[in-house]
Symmetry: C2
Subunit: 231 residues, 2 copies
């Protein structure tokens, strides 16, 4: 029942991910079924491969956020799709996601064989997405609120430009060509509403959770809008 080394390293990553707080090497060694000495070697291997594992004496190991996922292999078609998609994200999404897209593109470019790299650099696939310059809304904050299922206090301008105040329960972000939309339950209107992020004057995090669960809101909204669930 011996596990190959490479396989064991992946298991170790999974175990590290599971613990949110520092774990001692002894525990990790026990979980991966290996001696402490070997665990230290395994940690070193992962770090050498780029994993952001932090070890502090007296505390233990912790996998820093922005961590590593197991390696994946993609075919040429898949890489092309990923490159095109990442370019779109780099242009359209908020800075944090866009940064992720740029980083991913760099990783992909780094491993591509020369002839494919040239193919992709020559950019026969373009994303032309005129982004609205006036849209300075902090999407990262909204995404954080969505994840935590927190309410937002919104100051929003309607189509006529008149500002309104409302408390909303955000649960999704939509990306259109030149417009980004926050989708939320609106307490004021007692219904689902779409808020163009370029019309959001201010969004204040309340830190309070809303009463319902995000996936439920999402599916009810899909139902109401007649949108099928994604594959």
């Amino acid at each position: 029942m011996t596990v190959a080394r490479s396989e064991r390293l992946l298991i170790l990553l999974q175990v590290l991910r599971r613990y949110r707080q520092p774990v001692s090497g002894a525990i990790l060694a026990a979980e991966t079924g290996v001696s402490l000495r070997t665990l230290y070697r395994d940690i070193a291997s992962l770090q050498a491969q780029g994993a952001l594992i932090e070890g502090e004496a007296g505390l233990g190991y912790i996998l820093k956020p922005g961590f590593m996922l197991p390696p994946m292999m993609f075919s040429q078609d898949e890489i092309e799709a990923l490159v095109l998609g990442s370019r779109w994200v780099a242009k359209m999404a908020d800075p944090r996601l866009a940064a992720g897209a740029v980083d991913a593109l760099e990783k992909i470019a780094a491993i591509l064989p020369p002839e494919l790299k040239a193919e992709i650099d020559s950019s026969t696939l373009l994303v032309a997405a005129p982004r609205n310059r006036d849209d300075n809304t902090d999407l990262a904050m909204i995404r954080k609120a969505i994840r935590a299922e927190h309410m937002l206090d919104l100051t929003y301008e309607d189509e006529k430009g008149s500002p309104t105040q409302r408390r909303v329960w955000p649960f999704a972000l939509g990306f259109f060509d030149s417009v980004r939309v926050m989708i939320a339950w609106c307490e004021l209107r007692q219904g689902f509403r779409h808020f163009r992020t370029d019309r959001i004057v201010s969004a204040v995090a309340t830190g309070k959770r809303y009463a319902r669960r995000r996936p439920v809101l999402l599916s009810e909204w899909r139902e109401a809008e007649g949108i099928p669930a994604p594959s």
Copy 2:
């Protein structure tokens, strides 16, 4: 100067990619600095990991197209960006690219730890891109022509709906929200033109190369349009 096994497998993949025609195992063994017996074992390892390597007695080995690229590791942010981007590609691009995006999404989903998988399945990031249903143009054929730098004979409807015939030199594809555009040098107008794919009545591959190189056309077009080169 011994090379670790895992590293050697990647080298072998690169070598196989370099040869376009069948290579004998003896040559591959020499290139990777290993005995023939070990090479057979290495090939078996790669095949076990999903590489499409074909071996025929009397001929040699060849890496089938749709081949494998070296494994890559992505962080959580990068994965989110890739997922969002792939969703967009799956909706917006031609069937082949879209299929690549779907395959990539499945590979990503397969390796994601449960809590992240739920995060991504719950789809707080949506791509809402109403695709033009009337657009049945064969993008795969156009992409092929672009790669080969081949001319196309185009029947195209202008904005008023009147059809025109022209020979063009395609060099790029642009993806907008609901419209896809082929970018080409137009022999008729002696200038760069953008052709909405939903207005292309027919495109016939001539199989003839155009006189200029694609990257040159691309940069001249960028110059003419005032579009900066992508990072």
